[in-house]
Structure formats: C-alpha cells, structure tokens
C-alpha cells in the first residue's frame, strides 16, 4: 500500500485501481505463480521487507538453490519476471521507464544496450569487484556473460560427402557449398541479428549487402527462428533436416556429444562468429536500488559465474572461472569474433535489417 503514496500516486485513476483490485482479489487464490501477492498480503512496504524484482528475458534459468542461497545471505526476497526475448525485454523497459517493471535487469545484450542507455532505463552502478576483462557500458551496464553466434557444421555429413568443412564467411559463398547453409531472420531472431552484425563487422557497412547477395546466389535458406533452422533444416540435429550448415552458437556442439563422450558430431566455425554480451544493471526509478545493486553483485559472484554455462548456455564474464569439461573440449570460444560498436548497432540496426531484407528476401 505504501507504494501508492509514491511519486506516481497523483496520476492514478481511482476507478481503474478499484477494478483491478477487485480482479486481483478474485484471482489471488488461483492465478499466478507461487509467492504472488506476498508483498501485498503482509501490508508492508516491499522495499522495507526487502523484495527485489529482477526483470529478465525468457531464457533465464538460474538454479533455484543459488537464488535461495542469495536470499538467505542478504535477507532479500527475489522475484523474477521474464519479459520475452532480449529485444522485447529492452523495448519493454524503455516503454515502462517512468514506472519500472522491477528493480534490476539482466539480459540486455550488446545489440540492444545502446537503446537502453539512451533511454535512461538503467542507473549508473559499478560493482566493487568487477572481474578482469569485464568492460562496463556507460557505467551502468555490467557484463555478466557472453556467447558466440557462429555457423555450425554437421561433421558427419561433410565426412560422408568427402567435402572439407568450410572455415570462413567467404567459404560460405563458395559454390562448392551451394544450398548447404540455413540461417535465421535478423528481423525476428536474435542469433539472426548477431550474424548480420558479424557480416557488417567483416565486410563493413557498405560491403555486407554484396556478401549477402553472394550468399543468396549460393542458395542460403532463411528460417524465421533459430529453433526452426536448427531442428527442421539442420542435418546435424538428427531430426531429418537436409542442410549441414546452420547458424547457431559456439556452445551448440557441446549438446551433440556422442554417447561415449569422446567426440561431438557438430562443430562451430569459429571464424564466422559475433560475440553477444549480456549485461545486468539497476533500473532507474527502482524502489529498492540497494537490493538491485546486491543482485547485480550476486550475478557476478563466483558461484553464479560458474553456474552460467550449465544454466544459461553462456560463457561467464569472469574469465578466471573454470568451464565445464565438455565445454573446454567441444565448445571453445572464438578467438577474434567480429565486432560492431554498440552505439553503431543502435543507430543503424533497423536500417541494416531493412537493407538485408531487400537484398535477401527481395
């Protein structure tokens, strides 16, 4: 109730609140997930009772036990709210800037980071022990994990076809590899966008269209989502697909390890990668900024960093953390992924996607 007397109390439409309250009461017993309404039922201020809401994307899957440990240690209660994919997450935060969805955010990636910074949805905060090599953005976004989006190859297929596995972006446009590649749409899928950025990084803002034209001539197939490309079209997923090259992640080969654990049937082409970095931050206008800061620190803690590969399929931002054995063996990171400045991405993303659409879709 105390939150009603906050900064926005003056703008409340009484009727709406009454109506919504009635519905909330009606549903309280049967509606949401566990713990919903906790903060309201005891009638106390959420900030005072130490509730901190983490807004994240729908790939959030951190082990409950880790979160519980954090809650015990800090005395905070963590509520997690998932907003959709990474792009949806940032756009929702921008839209609700004046009345934030929570206190902290995790999952803003480097392709959307500038939009979030420009809109001012995150507050400046730098954790005390920022790991080595972890570079903050705008003093507000702290890197938590990263992953490489790369073309993957079905090793067995190439062996059977007596063809060398391609290595570079240029190779993919080689007629030798005609009709073998499937990627995903940059307008609707986040790896698709990352791969478009890889080509921008590789061929420049003026050269990427020519490259894509040559890919199109070489029979590239575009699916609308990663799952569609990987499970339906990619031969290496074992679901009857026909294309041995697919846009996926550098970590994907760790999921196709053979029964005996000695090898993997797919591999990532590490010279075709774009690095996605996921950031966390404190939301501007948070009711519990201290709690949010503690949460960001928690995400950088050694325990969480070590758990990231298993739960989120990402490499930890803290390079000193040891990786799982099969990752070390089958999912190495790219040494020199292609890069595009976040500010550049923010400024040109829509235009690049439109140019890409014109070139590839027509």
């Amino acid at each position: 109730m105390l939150r009603l007397s906050g900064a926005h109390a003056g703008t409340i439409q009484a009727g709406t609140v009454a109506g919504a309250a009635a519905v909330a009461l009606l549903l309280a017993g049967c509606g949401g997930g566990s713990g919903s309404g906790d903060s309201g039922s005891d009638g106390s201020d959420p900030a005072a009772s130490g509730t901190v809401t983490l807004v994240t994307h729908d790939s959030w899957a951190l082990d409950e036990k880790l979160v519980e440990g954090f809650e015990e240690e800090s005395g905070l209660t963590v509520e997690v709210s998932a907003a959709g994919d990474a792009g949806t997450l940032v756009n929702q935060l921008v839209l609700t800037k004046d009345s934030p969805l929570g206190d902290a955010v995790f999952g803003i990636d480097n392709t959307f980071a500038s939009r979030a910074l420009e809109a001012g949805v995150v507050e400046e905060y730098t954790p005390a022990d920022l790991p080595e090599g972890a570079e903050q953005l705008g003093g507000a976004l702290t890197p938590i994990d990263q992953g490489d989006v790369c073309v993957n190859a079905d090793e067995a297929w190439f062996e059977k076809s007596d063809l060398d596995v391609p290595r570079t972006l240029e190779d993919l446009a080689d007629p030798e590899y005609q009709d073998l590649l499937v990627v995903s749409n940059p307008a609707t899928s986040s790896p698709g966008l990352a791969f478009l950025l890889a080509t921008v990084g590789a061929f420049g803002e003026n050269g990427f269209e020519d490259y894509w034209a040559s890919l199109a001539d070489n029979g590239v197939k575009v699916a609308d989502s990663w799952e569609d490309a990987y499970y339906v079209d990619f031969s290496g997923a074992g679901e009857g697909g026909e294309r041995p090259l697919v846009l996926s992640y550098a970590t994907s080969p760790a999921f196709t390890v053979t029964e005996d654990g000695t090898g993997t049937t797919t591999s990532a082409l590490l010279e075709t990668c774009f690095r996605q970095v996921e950031y966390a931050g404190v939301l501007a206008g948070s009711d519990n900024p201290e709690g949010a800061q503690a949460l960001v620190d928690f995400l950088l803690s050694a325990d969480v960093q070590a758990a990231l590969p298993e739960s989120m399929y990402m490499y930890p931002a803290d390079s000193s953390v040891e990786l799982p054995k099969d990752w070390q063996k089958f999912a190495p990171q790219a040494e020199a992924p292609f890069e595009v400045e976040p500010a550049e991405v923010s400024e040109h993303r829509d235009e690049w996607i439109e140019r890409w659409t014109e070139t590839v879709v027509g």
């Binding site: 997930g33 809401t53 839209l95 609700t96 999921f255 739960s311």
Partner: protein, 567 residues
C-alpha cells in the same frame, strides 16, 4: 404470416433495468480495463511520441508497397483458411453430431486437439512434414501460401465442427423429412432446408475462424518463411524488436479496420438468416451410421479422409517423435524427463509443475470468461424494441469479438503502460495475476459465439409464456434460458478451458518464470539445443494435447448427464 412472425420474434419482455444494467456494465467494464484501455494507450503512444500529435506514420506506412503486400497476404490467407475450414468442417460436423457410431466421443475430442496446440509446435510439426525430406515433401508446400492455409485449417476446423455441430444436432429433423417427402433429394434438402437453418452458426464460426486466421502469428512465421508475413507478424516485429510504435500503431488501426469489416459482413449475414428455430433433444436427432446408406458411406469416407489427412498425420508425427529416445531407440524417456527441468536445467519448473499451473490458470480464466461471456451472450441474444437499442446490442456483440482480432503483443505491451500502478502493493504486470485475465479476454468471444446461437434460437414464445405464467425476468432466465443454454455452456466451458490451456502470446509476456504454463515451457524447451530438450518439448506437447482432449470430452459428458434427464 411472415410479417406477424417477425413482429412476434422481435417482441421482448419488459426490461428489468437493474438486471440488464449489470449484465451490460460488468462485461463492458472488464473489456474496457483489460482490453480497450491498454490497446488504446499503446496506439496513442505511437501517435503522440513526445507530447505532440504526429500522424506522419500514416503516410509512411500507407505509402509503402510492403504494407499493401502484407494486407493482401493477410486477407488472402484468412479468406482461404476460413473457406476451407467451413468446407471441411461441415461434413465433419454432420458425421460427428448427426450420426452416431462407436468411438464418436473420442473422435470429437481428437478434432479439438489441434485448436489448442501451441503454434510453435504445430509449425515445426508441419514444417517437418513439408520439408524436402519430409513425408509430404513431394507436395512442395514448403514456404508456400498453400502450406500456411493447410495449417490454418488444421487449427481452426474444430471451431466450425463444434459450433455448427452444436446447433445441427438440435435441429428438428422433421423439417428435413418434410422437405424430402416433398420430393427434394438429399442435396436439395441440404441446400434449401438444412443450410439456411445452420446459417447463423456457420456465419458465427466463420467469423471466429476468420479472426483467428487473419491474426495467426506463429504458423505464418514458421511455415511462411521470410517471404510471407501478415499485418500481425509485422506488428510483432515493429513492437518487440524495433519499438517502432509509430508504424505499429498505424498497422494496429489497419488491422482493426480489416477485422471490423469482416465482423460487419458476418453480422449482416447472420442477421439476414436469423430465425427462431425449432430445437429438439440432441439425443433424438442423431441416427446410427448406416453402411447401407450411400449418403452415410460418402460422409463417413470424406470425414475419415479429413480426420486422417489433416489431423492424424501431423499429430502422429508428433507422437512418434516424442517416443524416440535421444539415441534413436523407442521408449518413454522423454515422458520420464517431464518430471525434471530439462537437459542442463533448461527450465525453472518441471513440466508437470507447469501443467499444474496451466490447469489452475485455465480454471480461473474459464470462470471469468463464462461469467463475462455468458452475460454478453445473454444481452446480445435479446432483440429490444427500439432501433437504437438494437443497434447498441449488435455493437456490443461486435466489440467483444475484437480481442480475437487484435495482436496479443499490442495488448501485452498496453498492459505494461496502463497497469503501471501497484494494486494493494502488487505490481499486476509482473505478478502473473493478469495471465488468466488476458486468457479470458481471448476466450470470451468463443464463449459468446458458442452460447449465443443457442440462446438466439430459443423460441421467444417460451419466454412469453413463462412470463404470463407468473415468472419475473430473473425466473425466466433461470427456468427457460439457462437450462436450454446449458448444453452450449458445457461446450463453451470446454472451449474456454482449451483456449486458455493453449494461449501463448499474451501469457509469454505476463507469466513469471516460476508460473510458466505448458505452452511457455514447450516454447522454452524447443528454443534450446539438445535432443533431450527437443524430445521433452514434443512429449510436453503430447501431454498438452491429451489434457485438452480430455477436458473437452469431460465437458461434453458432464453436459449430457446434466441435460440428459430432461432433454
């Protein structure tokens, strides 16, 4: 006589202002707060970005050839999807509601399953069929309009079967028999007697199917590839990926125009055909399927072909794949894994927990949509004396169909800016409490469309007789409308439950990770690499399908027992 008849049917009972006032106010308030307001708020945000009105979005969007291509594609796929759903739905409705045979209940349940499968699963199932190496690869349906239409029909044919079947089984067969005795052949009887009587239900079902087809999202995205898009997919992209609310608002308005146009056409078709029908017991009207009647054999064969070709084939693919272990052998491993959170903890909750959440939320959504939708159907079923009130009633009817025609993204994003004040200390946007509400908004039109034709077909003389016999408006409702509508209320319950179980769009925005529903976890599982996760996603889809079929069959059974003694 005709004129007399029309007058009679138009007459209504003296209104009880408080009763009808409440019956109108509750649904309007609900729709206003949880649909109209969020949508309007988001659209306004698009036109008033910085405090100043900016309508340049119109010129930009309307002058783009891409926009008109999307409008064309939207209309084409929706019209084709609707036409084929009706065309294939009618013989099935006849077979499943006018003829009886062993296993009919099971087939009825089976036919409903596609309707609630998450689009992403159906999309992948169909793509697997259509892909060059797939079972139906030779048809060349990959990334084609035909492929999209097939999937749309797969989804929506059950709406036609259920809605039309519900009325068909209660049409007095004596009218048809009379026509036949006058020398009309089966085709002529169907054309001149049956079809006109069914018209309200057909128009009703067609309107719903059109809205579903016109706003289809997942199927178009997965099966259409990058070349096919609709207004809906464009709104999604513009809103979630580009935050280009300026264009999204214009597209939302265009979508509303298309939808309202379609609704107006269907309402007109429905009104022209509106007549009080003589309804009888469903038990008396269904005849046993006879293998000696050429008509029956034809219908049975056509029906079997539709069920097998359109439904069993894609679903069988799903089921068989769900039974394959990661190493290629057969087994129940994927089902055993449903008690876990997936390979490398892809999920926050186990699939069984998600199933329990789904059921709990669906229950709440069903109650809300039955109350609100029932009230709407009740109000709309009346034909008030004054022309103004009649217009108001038909407007109300149309209004409650709109949620089917507006993007879930627009509603979801709208919630974010309108529900931005905590209620009793709970932020509705992140609490998960809005999930059943959002699902109910989508289920209400189906409840209305299912109950309304039956309420409307109640002979107004029954209410008049009841009133003259001393029943006030409340008792007329309780003793005449309610018991007769009960059969369709059972059906509506099943539908609402099924829609709620399968809803993904709005749920994915509003559900918390620990309150994820089945479609949400299926989507997450399929979004992760790993044969085990993929297998689990398919197993979970099968669970969802079985759950839905069971719910529909139970709803139907309950309904028969309740009404059976008296009908």
């Amino acid at each position: 006589m005709d004129r007399d008849r029309r007058r009679l049917s138009r007459a209504s009972l003296r209104p009880a202002p408080l009763l009808w006032g409440t019956a109108v106010a509750v649904p309007l308030g609900f729709l206003g707060v949880f649909f109209a307001w969020p949508v309007a708020a988001l659209v306004v945000r698009g036109f008033v970005p910085d405090g100043a009105l900016d309508l340049t979005g119109f010129t930009d969007v309307l002058s783009s050839p891409r926009t008109w291509r999307l409008v064309g594609l939207t209309l084409t796929q929706a019209v084709l999807g609707t036409a084929f759903s009706v065309l294939l739905g009618l013989p099935l409705a006849y077979l499943l509601y006018r003829r009886s045979f062993p296993g009919r209940g099971l087939v009825r349940g089976l036919v409903t399953v596609p309707f609630v499968l998450p689009a992403v699963v159906v999309g992948v199932a169909f793509r697997t069929l259509f892909a060059p190496g797939g079972t139906l690869g030779f048809l060349g349906l990959e990334e084609s309009l035909a492929g999209i239409v097939v999937a749309l029909v797969f989804f929506n044919v059950s709406v036609v079967v259920r809605t039309v079947g519900g009325l068909w089984e209660r049409l007095d067969p004596r009218t048809e028999q009379a026509a036949a005795s006058l020398g009309a052949g089966p085709a002529r009887v169907f054309r001149t007697v049956t079809l006109p009587s069914l018209a309200p239900a057909v128009a009703s079902a067609a309107a719903v199917v059109f809205l579903f087809c016109a706003t289809a999202f997942g199927v178009v995205l997965v099966l259409g590839g990058v070349r096919y898009g609709t207004i809906e997919t464009e709104i999604w992209t513009r809103t979630t990926q580009f935050l280009d609310l300026r264009s999204a608002s214009v597209l939302s308005i265009m979508q509303l125009v298309v939808i309202s146009g379609a609704l107006a056409v269907s309402a007109r078709a429905r009104r022209r055909r509106e007549a009080a029908l003589h309804l009888v017991s469903a038990r008396g009207s269904a005849r046993r399927l006879s293998w000696r009647s050429p008509q029956d054999v034809t219908v049975a064969l056509v029906g079997a072909a539709i069920v097998v070709g359109l439904m069993v084939l894609p679903m069988a693919g799903l089921v068989t794949r769900s039974l394959r272990e990661p190493d290629g052998s057969w087994g129940l491993g994927n089902y055993a894994a449903l008690g876990t959170t997936g390979e490398r903890n892809a999920l926050v909750v186990t699939v069984w927990e998600a199933a329990a959440t789904s059921l709990r939320i669906a229950l709440a959504a069903t109650v809300i949509s039955l109350v609100v939708g029932g009230l709407v159907a009740l109000v709309v079923s009346r034909r008030p004396r004054s022309a103004g009130a009649r217009r108001a009633v038909s407007t109300l009817d149309g209004l409650f169909m709109l949620p089917l025609g507006v993007s879930a993204v627009t509603v979801g994003f709208g919630f974010l800016i309108t529900m931005d004040q905590p209620v009793l200390g709970v932020d509705l946007r992140t609490s998960g409490l809005l999930v059943p509400v959002a699902q109910a908004v989508v289920a209400i039109p189906l409840v209305v469309r299912t109950v309304l034709p039956v309420l409307r077909a109640i002979d107004p003389r029954l209410r008049e007789v009841a009133a003259v016999l001393g029943s006030g408006p409340g008792r007329v409702l309780r003793t005449v409308d309610l018991p007769i509508a009960l059969r369709s209320v059972g059906l509506a319950t099943g539908f609402a439950f099924a829609v709620s179980l399968g809803e993904f769009g709005a749920t994915s925005f509003l559900a918390r990770p620990d309150g994820a529903t089945l479609p949400v976890v299926i989507y997450r599982l399929i979004g992760r690499p790993g044969a085990e996760n993929y297998g689990m996603a398919l197993a979970a889809s099968v669970v969802l399908a079985v759950l839905t079929a069971t719910v529909m069959m139970v709803a139907e059974r309950l309904r028969d027992e309740r009404a059976g003694g008296e009908f």
